[in-house]
């Protein structure tokens, strides 16, 4: 993770400097830009910090090793759904609910139960009974 931490870490002094220069040349009156640049500085630091914390908790990855091989990446990556129809139903019911906001409350009320069923179906798909992951 060291490279990722560096990429975002180097952005912090850059945006800090940019904030200072921007504030100086706009004679601190244009607040939206100053706040925007300041937040960009903070967010870069935030991502660098998060990657650093994650890197400390996880083992060194093959891509961190100059001598690493593609084959070293094989192994367990966690749980992924082999296939699932629920996202389709979820998408369709969200579309109907959003359309209901524009067309009328009657459509939203008709579509809402489908949204509830889709969310429950997707969330619980692999977390039921004996075969739960």
């Amino acid at each position: 993770m060291r490279t990722e931490v560096k990429i975002f870490g180097y952005l912090v002094p850059f945006f800090a400097l940019a904030t200072g220069l921007y504030a100086y040349f706009t004679e601190p009156r244009e607040w939206v830009g100053i706040v925007g640049l300041l937040l960009t500085t903070i967010f870069s630091a935030f991502i660098a910090f998060y990657l650093w914390i994650t890197g400390r908790k996880t083992d060194r990855r093959p891509e961190d090793d100059l001598e690493g091989e593609i084959a070293d990446l094989s192994g367990d990556y966690g749980h992924f759904a082999p296939y699932s129809w629920w996202p389709l139903w979820l998408g369709l019911s969200i579309a109907a609910v959003a359309l209901g906001l524009a067309v009328g409350w009657w459509l939203l009320i008709c579509a809402a139960p489908f949204l509830v069923i889709s969310i429950l179906g997707w969330t619980f798909e692999f977390f039921r009974g004996e075969k739960a992951v």
């Binding site: 939206v32 967010f43 966690g78 977390f127």
Partner: protein, 192 residues
Amino acid sequence: MVAVGTMVWLGSEIMFFAGLFAMYFTIRSVSPDMWADRTEYLDITFASINTMILVISSVWCQLGVWQAERGIPHRTGSLLNVKSWGMREWYVLTYLFGATFIAGQVWEYATLTSEGLTPTADSYGSVFYITTGFHGLHVTGGLLAFLLIIGRSFTAKRYTHAQATGAVVTSYYWHFVDVVWIALFAVIYLVG
């Protein structure tokens, strides 16, 4: 994997709220007189107590996360024995605190509306209800996510790593809306 993906999504959520903050500051900068007048309506004591409730709920959430990471889905002892609580009990407590916060928001909205501060009254009303309202919707979404995470721990036979991951990323989201509220509270109530 799921944790990093959640963080990327929360990054886009931050940009969404950054847009709302930009809106707030921009409209405020062009109508300072309106701000001086309208912020008089806000009940800072009430909002401070409500803020404390949300911040404390984040603490309960984190205690639940630690139990999830240890693989303890539910309590092993009596309900009164807090040390034996698992993820489920802490998340129920988090839910109750979060629901109290939302109830407080509804109360505040009702009070302000009765005093004439409505979303359509003026631009202050608009930005106040849009910023706090979108945050309130996020908290409500988080509450529903807690219900799903708690529900999952009942339906599955074992408490697995995938289950714990779901609980952990829900806590990321909860801490996120908590931090956003602290910023909103500071900007709307304290900076005035």
